[in-house]
Amino acid sequence: MGGEEKKKYINRLKSFLPLRTKIDETYKKSIEAIQMGRPVAWAMINAWYGDPILRAMELETVYPENFGAICAAEGVAESYLNRADADGFPSHLCGYARNCFGYVSRMTKELKGEIPPEAPVGGMPKPIFLLSSNIGCDARYKWFQALGRYLDVPVWVLDMPIPGVKELFRDGVYERCIQFIVEELKEFVHFLERILGVKMDWDRLEKTVHDIEEMNRVWFEINELRKAIPCPMHSRDFWSAMPPSLFLAGKPAETLILYKEMWKEVKERVDHKVSSIQTEERFRLLFSELPPWHSLSVFENMAERGWNFVIESWGYHPPPPLDLSGISDPLEHIARFSFHFHTAYFKDALEEGEYYGYMGYPLLKFAREYRCDGAFFHLPLTCRSTSTHQLYLQEKMKQKLKIPSMIVSGDIVDLRLFNPAEVIKRMEVFEESMESYKKLREDRS
């Protein structure tokens, strides 16, 4: 078989290509701008909380989490991890954070501020400030705080209220959270105006916010179409197409046009019952948390056996659309949208007596609504945020929905911890499990 091109079993969307080109162009332009000396901020992924403001202020932004994944894929992470160890950071901390400490340590201590030559995608130049938040995990602010050892730049923390599921519905709690977030945003705008020496262009912010909401509405609707049998769009396409939504890579107005094209293609597939895998869709699967970026080809092996990945982690998906037409303040738009992202499924969770209203419960809901036969949990050893709920979900899916799951350990930076061969070896046994649970579900219904 040597020399022959391996057959592809995932039926990729054509519309993801122009989108991908746009994303790559955006990265390239951003790198060029940074290399020309434009100020840059480092930011944590923040669920549309701080990003709309950064975009409206036209500040170049890099995401050290993203950079960590790229360093891992490019094979330079190991040296940074070793450096972080040598600087005294415990090895169980977030792999992305340790990669970042090692990188910054090399840049500031060894290269006197120069970008390390081995750094991929042009590296990350010294920022003018660090935008962190409590969204997602404690590491997101503890990491940037600890960077104070190397960088003399301010850290700005955006605080997001995270109420309990039933506590959210006590009198006044929801609106109080919104007002709190609006105030957080006002302070953030003032901080940016001070540090950049320019005033916020409120019209531009309003337009940016509107475009983000529209873009995410269409992106949400595309994903709704994936409930169809057979599923018209594979997780591989989802991951390729998500950066414009998740990181605002590209201009939201341009992305909106491309997402609309994608919606048309997916809808056409639904209408004509075109599957996103070339084989018969034997099993519909949910993928939980960070994909093994370095081993995505394993999904081809699974597609060959009729495994179709129809839905993914809650954290990558926009919330269901929200009617914000009566609200004029763009900061309130941001507050409501971002808070809605966190709490959109709380009501349903409460009705089902589930209290892991974000991250956990939405996956239960997705598994049911996308009619999944199984779930694939990727358990990253150094990421508490994305690993905490996985065993609980495994238990709940089995108990409540009679859906089996397989857990495969891996990591976000240490590539050696994910073993695609192990996945392939376990596939047959897991298929038997999916079959038997499918029968159980049919018998019950």
Binding site: D87, G88, F89, P90, H92, L93, C94, A97, N134, C137, D138, A139, Y141, K142, W143, Q145, A146, G148, R149, L151, D152, V153, P154, V155, V157, D159, P161, I162, P163, G164, V165, E167, R170, V173, R176, F180, E183, F191, R194, I195, G353, E354, Y355, Y356, G357, M359, G360, L379, L381, T382, R384, S385, S387, T388, H389, Q390, L391, Y392, E395, K396
Partner: protein, 392 residues
Amino acid sequence: MPEGSRGVTRAKDLYRDRFRRAKELKGEGRKILGYICLHAPLEMMTALQIIPFRMLGDIYETPTQVDRFLPRAFCPFVRSVFDLSLKGKYDFLDGMLLVHSCDAMERTGRIWESVVDHHYFHFMDLPTKVCGRHQKFFREGLDDFKKTLEELTGKELSFGELKKAIESHNEQRSLVRSLYEITEKVPPKISGSEILQVIGAITSIPVEEGNKLLREVLAEIRKRKSGKLKGPRILVWGSVLDHPAFVEMIEDLGAHVVIDDLCTGTRGYWADVKLDGDLLSSLAYYYLVELRCPRTFKEAPSDGKRKDYSADLEERFGYLREFTKTWKVDGAILQSVKYCDCHGFEVPQVKDYFNSFGIPSLLLEHNYMIADREILKTRVEAFLEILRGGVE
């Protein structure tokens, strides 16, 4: 308090069987609410005649049930407490207050509420930052908590009762500080492991009983004759140590643990809740701003354009310099359970701070369970040797 042993012996007995008194009181019709982290506003429970009971883990009991719900690469302390709960050991509680102190607590809390049946369960969010607006927001969260307690007890939380409860808890804080004052002396009359047991005991009984016990302990200790052994004086910093075994290990090697920066030690007792003005605001200030825990984001004031690392360390850890000076500390042992992100990120910065004024420090990461202690012992021994070279 039932008759029997008194003072330190009584405290140790209570610590060894922490559930006993709570169960007795439960039998008498009292309501008991469990909490885990220090950020739970105890005064509000006390004011409504509810007994706050601090839930701890068990370093001798291998977690088994918890493996169904939590991964192994996860805070082993939280795993242990949750495991005990799943095994029914905390069934005597009327409910739980879970505060968003860190990811591990917050996420586990959501699972806890979903899988353990509690008559009452309240999740209380806690801001990350400490400025006035964040205090106000937290104060509103306290008001929500107050309402849930009123619903639970059918009673209204009055200003007078809350004030009285704050006074009692402030007295407890002051008594615990007095205990630590005794360890300022060379050599100390009470060991670090005894202090941890006393604190472990008082967090399992009503505050007034705890205060009575503390007064007995103080009277007894003050009468003790000074020991003769003069070993290195150690500060222990880090994540939760809910069992004295770790400190005993250090003390068995001839050192004195004279002061700590632990949530099962000084952290819950180093400041008082102010009694003037709106009491919920005072509680919000105390629990958000005054309590030391790396989960809260604090930094030195700056011009917002440049960050000064030394000033930042001073702002965040200045009390450690005070501890070192007042308690004549020779070395610091920084300990943390594995997978504690909040403490883990802090470690190199705390080390930098100790280095800045010449205090040697040793970092020990452990898995919480007792079996780990022997491995750590060798490293502590070597560290103490270095200190002895410097102090003798």
